[in-house]
């Protein structure tokens, strides 16, 4: 189940800057996990050579720390259940992965923009409103009608 808090969030376990947090907290096994490899391939277009080496089509051989902010946030969402991550670090191209991760576990994220989750079907709880929505129209209207962002 995906739970989203929209707008400014103040919580002890909230990570505003997942990019830096990832660099200082990721585990090698997170990177070589098959689903992480798929996410890295899909979002960054890169191949995982090993836990500390990535083959990027744009940048050549790079360290894991130079993965995109979006894919780092996705990996954190998958493996770190102790924190709420700022999903505004992710573009629309991460939305389907967020829904996929949320099918496997209860996932809470923060968003500051209307990420496009596509046609669905999906179930998303808007935490600010304690409301479950099942379509983009319902999601967008709930967020904007209540001026959550």
């Amino acid at each position: 189940m995906l739970k989203i808090y929209y707008g400014d969030l103040e919580a002890d376990n909230y990570i505003f800057n997942p990019d830096v947090f990832f660099n200082n907290s990721y585990e090698d096994e997170w990177i070589i996990d098959p689903e992480s490899k798929e996410m890295i391939k899909d979002i960054d277009g890169s191949n995982v050579i090993g836990p500390r080496a990535i083959d990027s089509p744009f940048l050549g051989s790079i360290s894991t720390e130079r993965l995109s902010g979006g894919v780092k946030t996705l990996i954190l969402m998958k493996f770190d259940s102790d924190h709420i991550f700022n999903a505004s670090a992710c573009g629309d191209n991460c939305a389907s992965w967020i829904l996929k991760i949320a099918k496997e576990k209860e996932l809470t994220i923060r968003l500051g923009y209307l990420m496009d989750f596509g046609k669905g079907p999906f179930e998303i709880e808007i935490l600010n409103l304690n409301k479950i929505v099942t379509s983009m129209q319902e999601l967008n209207e709930s967020v904007l009608d209540n001026r959550l962002i």
């Binding site: 400014d8 505003f16 800057n17 990019d19 830096v20 979002i43 960054d44 277009g45 089509p57 744009f58 940048l59 050549g60 995109s68 902010g69 979006g70 894919v71 505004s88 670090a89 992710c90 573009g91 629309d92 191209n93 991460c94 500051g112 923009y113 209307l114 496009d116 379509s135 983009m136 129209q137 967008n140 209207e141 904007l144 009608d145 962002i149």
Partner: protein, 320 residues
Amino acid sequence: MIGKYEIEVYNNKAHYFLSIKRNITILQGNSATGKTELIRLIQEYEENGVSSGITLKCEAKCTVLTMVDWERRLESLTGHIVFIDETASFLKTQRFAELVKGSDNYFVIVTRDDLGMLPYSIDEIYGLKNDEQKYRTYHKVYNEMFRLYNFDISKSIVPETVITEDSNSGYDFFSLVFPEKCISAHGKDNVYNEIRKVRQQSILAIVDGAAFGSEIGKILRYLKWSDSECTIYAPESFEYIILSSGLFDVPKEILDETYLHADSKRFMSWEEFFTYYLADITRNSVFQYGKAKLGEAFKTDGAVKKIVAVLPMNYGRIIH
């Protein structure tokens, strides 16, 4: 700060081109399109110069503002193009908005969240385009024709309701053009609410494009998934429409090269500049312009015809 600046920055792997001409430019888009890499190149060049192996070509100095001592640094900067990544948590603070106002710097900000306190233009929201793998240029996120957004080019718009962002002079004028159809949203923050209130009608929402950047993304994303039939008309501002109508003798460069005149120290947005300019050239004349109320001289048949002639109605795109 005034002017238009071409920025070219590259190393042996990535090559970026940007053109910056207003005080605030927003970069957004999908993950992994190279936004953070661009900031990294500029920062490494700033720290190491040519020793970085990076080439940066720009007539203005470029700098990256991070969380470290940001307030003091920003207060001391002048004549710079200031790049800020989305990881800077001060972006949405009142203090940052205060420092941008009156700043003698241009800002290039990477963010997907809207910055409601800053009046940035719809035209200056860019996404990265990979022309080839190495070469990256920016393109406008919100493309338009006739400055109409969410517009089906195969059709004409016959609005049953016209919503104006403006509650004063702009509303007065469009009430003449669209009698009994026009309502005011009383500000940019309320345009969405007015669109929501109107059910099963064709809507034309008229907003000041020069300062509507923080709202356009939300409204277009809402419209994408709703059944609302709404087109957004976003000229720079109502004052820009008047200035371009030929009602007054306005030098072409004021309209076409506004970046040479709209000093960021004096004008937070081009909307403010056009308002100032129109008020200035009409002072002590029958057309004396004030934002609060449209003067009677602008409401004469001759003046209305001239102004309407520069609107999309003139091209048959909107039937009124």
